[in-house]
């Protein structure tokens, strides 16, 4: 008996611990400044879907018609990488870029899905994603050091001076780059980035190098200089090398960036969705409110209707809720309005299992068994009903998950996890707690405590029941 009680106590403590984790990690991640990297408990916030956090959901159609079927997968992965890099420039937390395979379910279309939480200016986002990153070759501005006239006005103000750009653009851009590769200098072992231009690019490069011997030529990516080599001689054949004091890692990244200059697959925007932050916050608050009210209403119902087992069910339901919230944080599950609905419904279903068990126990009591026996039979007999009645919900949840749109997946996932966890918690936690009570004798009190609604669980003679 003591063993059961200690286990029950441990489970209770564990439940409290899990609840504490959910609470603490929420506090930690909420108080975290936006630009700081999360550490410790703050690493586990609730991940909110775009409809709750506000943000933009973009779906691109990728045109793979010109690719060989064997290349599609690699190209899509490359595309994903390029877009992810571009998206990361926004500096938003947790953007999601994913490829949706052109399987049976979406008519063979290859898609790219971009989720930008917190971004509501879609035009800007779309422009940045769609834009080819600019690789430019610039030469020194001859007027860089030209003197400027400054006048002082009567009011003592100095007329503004413009600092000229040190570099000016040339016609040579990433458009003419056919590929970049990483090499190593044979003698020094230094990493070297080799560029290969196409024919037009080669001609342009030859012209630039001829005009700038002994001067620097700057290579700009998205307006930022990434390398400023000095030209030693005229280069023909369209081959250039960028040497510099970079580590092999840096060189590799550079090669990746240069090669990403052009998208491997052309894309076009087919769907957009934006939800303003205020609307998202409203939905979140309403979802939380509904969850709390739903939970309290059920707790009230359980205690009034099922008395002692009801109280135990409320305890195990609380543990269930804490477990679910912790799972949402740890897995992590992206919560959407539909997802919260799925979770709330799963609370109702979690109670179902308890109800099935309690009704069964009551029935066993009525047929004259002791409390202990009734509990034992109640659990074992109710299990099949619980399992069978939940399987159909799980079938639905699995198929809905396959359905694939984020909205539906949000619902399917919380619902599925909810049904699974509820079966475990109803069976094991509630049982453990009921056994812990260690009720051996059947008295009027136990009959009242295990009764439900308007009837007590008093044993009824079998023939009386049949006469009805």
């Amino acid at each position: 008996m003591w063993k059961t009680r200690i286990t029950a106590l441990l489970i209770l403590l564990l439940g409290v611990g899990v609840g504490f984790f959910v609470y603490k990690s929420e506090l930690a991640s909420r108080s975290l400044p936006a630009n700081k990297v999360a550490t410790g408990l703050a690493r586990f916030p609730f991940r909110l879907g775009l409809d709750l956090s506000g943000g933009t959901h973009l779906v691109y159609h990728a045109d793979v018609s010109k690719l060989a079927p064997s290349q599609v997968k690699d190209s899509m992965a490359a595309l994903r990488d390029v877009i992810e890099r571009r998206v990361n420039i926004f500096g938003i937390s947790e953007p999601v870029v994913q490829v949706q395979d052109g399987g049976f379910s979406n008519a063979g279309e290859e898609r790219l899905i971009v989720d930008l939480p917190g971004v509501t200016e879609i035009s800007k986002a779309v422009a940045m994603i769609g834009q080819t990153p600019l690789l430019e070759f610039k030469v020194q501005n001859p007027n860089k050091d030209a003197p400027q006239k400054v006048t002082v006005g009567k009011d003592g103000k100095v007329s503004p001076i413009t600092i000229p750009d040190p570099y000016i653009s040339t016609d040579l851009t990433g458009r003419y780059l056919s590929k970049a590769t990483l090499e190593f200098n044979q003698t020094t072992g230094e990493p070297v980035v080799s560029l290969q231009f196409d024919n037009t690019g080669a001609a342009l490069f030859e012209k630039i190098t001829r005009e700038n011997i002994g001067k620097p030529v700057a290579i700009f990516l998205d307006g930022q200089p990434i390398s400023i080599p000095t030209v030693n001689e005229v280069i023909t054949g369209g081959k250039a090398q960028i040497t510099g004091s970079f580590t092999p890692e840096e060189a590799k990244t550079l090669v990746g960036r240069l090669n990403s200059g052009a998208l491997p697959v052309p894309i076009s925007l087919i769907s957009t969705q934006t939800i303003g932050p205020s609307l998202g916050a409203q939905a979140t608050n309403a979802g939380v409110k509904a969850a709390i009210i739903g939970f309290l209403a059920i707790a009230l119902f359980l205690i009034i209707w099922y008395r002692l087992p009801g109280i135990i069910a409320v305890v195990s339901l609380s543990i269930y809720v804490a477990l679910m919230l912790a799972l949402f944080k740890l897995i992590p599950v992206t919560l959407t309005a539909a997802g919260i609905a799925g979770f709330i419904i799963s609370i109702g279903i979690a109670v179902d299992a308890n109800v099935l068990i309690f009704e069964r126990i009551k029935e066993e009591l009525r047929s004259g068994r002791t409390v202990f026996e009734s509990m034992k039979n109640g659990f074992s007999r109710a299990w099949f009903s619980i399992r069978d009645s939940n399987v159909s919900s799980m079938i639905t949840a699995l198929i809905l998950f396959w359905f694939g749109t984020p909205l539906i997946q949000g619902f399917a996932l919380t619902f599925l996890i909810g049904v699974l966890v509820s079966m475990i918690s109803a069976i094991s936690i509630t049982r453990l707690f009921l056994y812990t009570l260690n009720i051996k004798k059947t008295t009027r009190l136990t009959n009242f405590l295990f009764g439900s609604g308007f009837s007590s669980a008093k044993a009824m003679p079998v023939h009386a029941e049949q006469q009805k």
């Binding site: 409809d51 379910s105 303003g276 109702g348 279903i349 109670v351 099935l356 919900s393 198929i399």
Partner: protein, 294 residues
Amino acid sequence: MFVIKHKKTFVIISIILVIFAIGSISYFGLKLGIDFKGGSLSEVEYKTSRPDQATITKELAPLSLGEVIIQPTGTMGYSIKTRAVSETERAGILTALGSDATEKSFTSIGPSVGAELVRKSIISFILVVLGIIFFIAYTFRKVSKPVSSWKYGLIAIVTLIHDMMIPVGAFAMLSHTYGTEVDTLFVVAVLTILGLSVSDTIVVFDRIRENIRVGHFKTFEETVGKSLEQVYTRSIATSSTVIIVLLALVFFGPASTKVFAMMLTAGMFFGTYSSIFLASPLLVIVNNWQKGKK
């Protein structure tokens, strides 16, 4: 035994309900939302004053967006529905609405995405129904007397159609009054109702199966009747708990899931109703037919 005694009455009530539902669906029709048709929807809100609809229609006319549906939302907002628009067109709409308007949400769905969703919905629906039929056939595989297991499955499916048609019929009526459209959540609601409705029916059938095995009762009719008496409190209790949380969602939950929760509430209610007042009487009726043939 009340339900079994009046089994024909209850079956007729269900038939009438389903006929009403079908009538409502065919009369009011189900309007497909932009999720399925493709198109765009923007929700805007004005800060200081809301211009009237005619002004907005006039402002939007030069953009040649085709048919534009403008509906007032709340006291300061409008929802504007058009065909799927490009980014530049969207910006054009916003400019036309004036600087006083802020965009609360915007959705644009290309026709290909919509068509895909329609196909996926149909496939999911078929998969769920097949999955449930196989599951019931499997669960009741050992029950063959006096009613064979596939008949339990068949009756569960009939009940399923009943449970699904009624909320959909109610939805059609609601959509006529409130202009709600069939969207992805509608599909989720229907599929979830399928799952939940069957689980209730299974609890009842499960008890009948157990009582057949125990063999306390003389006739099949009595077995079903007594089984119902044993389970109806719990059936009502289990669905009440789910309905309690669903009502919390309807009244306090996010606006986007209100209709969804309402549909599920109706589905849950009729799911429980049908497992007691439709599935079980049908089981007895099927059994009586069998006997009549012999």
